[in-house]
């Protein structure tokens, strides 16, 4: 048999079927074919044709199945390289961050490849992560929330202990406390901290001669003036019910100032929202915004995206929100981003004015993965100065980084500049979900009820206490 002797079957094999399986299988088919041809020439018997046809279709199917199987499992492609897999949520920002880290790390470490997989965000994503861990099908490294959400993933069984890693020396203690369980640290920070408070439109503040409020009363006085000027004072976007919680969550600094032991007692079932004046005050603030009519008219139908647009376009003066809104503003309204300022939700006294802070999500190493050591090195990179720099190239920081020597980029938005003094003066407090594992799942809806006047503040606080009980019992916490 001459090699140049091309015939239709060989041609088909070479051009159409090659992608489906490797050379080994192709050789085998060719061999079968040659044997057949030698026995009866090209004009083989009908039986032979049928045999060939079924053989080819069988191989095609196995080839395709094999290709499907390879998609997820991260087959070691190169001869020498290590292949790491990374799971992140599918929001544009998260994907950009993952890709930037991948590119920077691959450039620094030739021979290592990182494969980024995505998952949905929100509760659906939580379930997916839990399911993948439960079925032993997790990526080498995965990004997930820090704080209480992380503790329900059974860290001891699923995550590699990172307490002794060298990179932890540069990570802020506040952050470490949010990824620890029973004295062991399991995560490394991915990106910048986040704050919650009130974004405001600087131009409106300037036009009306307002100054940044240091107490809740000053804030309400500002609202009155803004309303009198015919502008929506406070943007409400309760169609996305999670946004309704922000006033409650952002008040944590004030709660912690007035009742320093609240988080601990609350976790131990010794304090409630309805029974603690400082905590009830948060609900009253939310109710007050409704009672005074400071929301936009369509606050029950408006969405988070609408809210950002209203703020940037000056249709609303202030928007209580988490600072992850900043990259969105920067992307969608780049010319307005420096017109947006930020202040912490004020309390009742001007000298106790501070910021409620969220720690970024963390990178965890899957304990039962196949590349634990390589994964640890990658995680150390993510939590380093270089990692922060790589993230900064694609994602506007929403606050300072929890990594000691990490540099802020020069062009940070003015709202982030407004946050820095709180950090410099140490006037920050971790959000409640980081200091207590309890967060009732019904808070968004209850916040809507209070914010829309369906329930008064004390009723809302009481029903949240009940909601919390459900979660604590389901977690099997002590004292509930």
């Amino acid at each position: 048999m001459k090699k140049t002797d091309m015939n239709p079957i060989n041609e088909a094999l070479t051009y159409y079927l090659v992608p489906f399986y490797n050379n080994h299988i192709r050789e085998y088919i060719l061999h079968e074919y040659i044997t057949l041809q030698e026995s009866g020439g090209y004009e083989m018997s009908k039986r032979g044709i049928r045999y060939m046809a079924s053989l080819i279709s069988l191989l095609m199917m196995t080839g395709m199945l094999a290709a499907c199987g390879n998609g997820g499992s991260g087959d070691t492609g190169g001869a020498s390289g290590t292949n790491l897999t990374l799971l992140t949520d599918n929001s544009q920002d998260a994907v950009n961050v993952a890709d930037a880290l991948k590119a920077a790390y691959e450039k620094k470490n030739p021979g290592v490849t990182v494969e980024v997989e995505t998952r949905p965000g929100g509760s659906e994503g939580d379930n997916l992560v839990k399911t993948r861990l439960a079925t032993g099908d997790m990526t080498d490294v995965f990004f997930y929330n820090s704080g209480s959400l992380m503790t329900v993933l059974s860290p001891e069984a699923n995550m590699e202990d990172l307490t002794g890693e060298a990179f932890q020396a540069n990570v802020s203690d506040d952050f470490k406390s949010t990824v620890s369980m029973n004295g062991k640290v399991y995560g490394a920070p991915v990106g910048a901290t986040m704050s919650s408070g009130w974004f405001y439109n600087k131009k409106i503040y300037k036009d009306l001669g307002l100054s940044v409020p240091k107490t809740w009363d000053e804030l309400m006085a500002n609202n009155e003036k803004i309303k009198a000027a015919g502008i929506t004072p406070v943007i409400g976007t309760m169609k996305d019910s999670w946004t309704a919680q922000v006033i409650l969550l952002a008040d944590q600094y004030n709660v912690a100032q007035a009742a320093p032991n609240f988080a601990k007692d609350f976790t131990a079932h010794q304090a409630t929202f309805a029974g603690t004046p400082a905590a009830l005050r948060s609900f009253e603030k939310l109710q007050q915004v409704f009672d005074k009519g400071y929301w936009n008219k369509d606050f029950l139908a408006a969405t988070y995206d609408n809210g950002i647009k209203m703020l940037a376009e000056g249709k609303g003066a202030q928007y209580p929100m988490l600072s992850f809104a900043l990259p969105v503003i920067q992307q969608n309204f780049p010319d307005q981003v420096d017109n947006i300022g930020f202040f912490a939700q004020p309390g009742d006294s001007a000298d106790k004015n501070g910021l409620t802070v969220w720690m970024p999500g963390a990178a965890y190493v899957y304990k039962n993965g196949s590349n634990v050591e390589a994964a640890k090195k990658f995680v150390a990179f993510i939590a380093s100065k270089e990692g922060a720099a790589a993230i900064a190239t694609v994602s506007t920081p929403t606050g300072p980084y929890p990594v000691k020597d990490a540099q802020m980029p020069d062009n940070i938005p003015s709202a982030v500049k407004d946050m820095l003094p709180y950090f410099d003066q140490n006037k920050t407090s971790l959000a409640l979900e980081f200091v207590s594992p309890i967060k009732g799942p019904g808070l968004p809806q209850i916040a809507v009820e209070v914010g829309a006047g369906i329930k008064k503040a004390p009723e809302g606080a009481a029903s949240y206490d009940q909601d919390v009980e459900k979660q604590a019992k389901q977690m099997g916490l002590e004292g509930w």
Partner: protein
Amino acid sequence: MNRVFRRTYSYWFLMPAAVIYFVIFLLPTVMSFFFSFTRWTLADWEFIGLDNFVMFFQEQSLRIGFQNTLIYAVVTCGLKVILGLLLGVLLTSRLRTRNYLRSVIFFPTLISTIAVGIAFSMMMHPTQGIINTALGWAGLPGLDWLGDTRVALLSIALVDVWKGVGFATVIYIAGILSIPPDYYEALQIDGGGAWHKFWNIIVPLSRPATNSVIILSFIGGLRSFDLVWAMTQGGPGFTTDVIASIIYKQYQGGFYGLATAGNVILFVIVTVLAFPLYRYLNKREVDL
């Protein structure tokens, strides 16, 4: 007989279907009964007896949920029966555009519920929605269709009727067409009018169709979830929560045992309400 049977078909032919039925239906059903008695994190579980059921019944939004589920089921079911019957009569009459209209009425049934929900919640937007804009042109005050706690559930029910009435109509068309023409001839001989035709022939003799529509739409209403979730997610607050959305939120919260208990309860409720209804309706069917 037995020999013939054995020669023609073996019971083994049932195996593929039986395996699928067992793995996909029976097994999960039995497992869900089991897991409803546990505190379950997908990875492991702990037996806690009836605690989940107790907790589910203590759920504060549950009373609203039950109430809403019943209102929703009755309203959608009632409207689908009435509108379906009227449209069925209309579309079996001698209308020039009959076939075209039949497709138009049936069309919403084919669209994804989520798409319908999103589209309608945009149209029902209080300030930018097309419905209030149109009402404004007519000089009528608009409503906050999904934001007003008094009308939100009814707004969703109306959308459900819009989407589901086509199916009811098709069942009615089939029911009405299967009425033997003898009855109409008898009516003509007796000199009855259009009203008699409708009330004394079509309504009683399309009883089987009515029963199917009632059963299908009532059960559909009891387990309604997708449209509610797409339009309000049970909001504002908890005002449009139905049992299924409460269960879903518990599942989202990671309370798998509790949510499973809720599903077992929903299963029992649907059975307890639908089965007697079915028996009752079937007893009253008239033989053609």
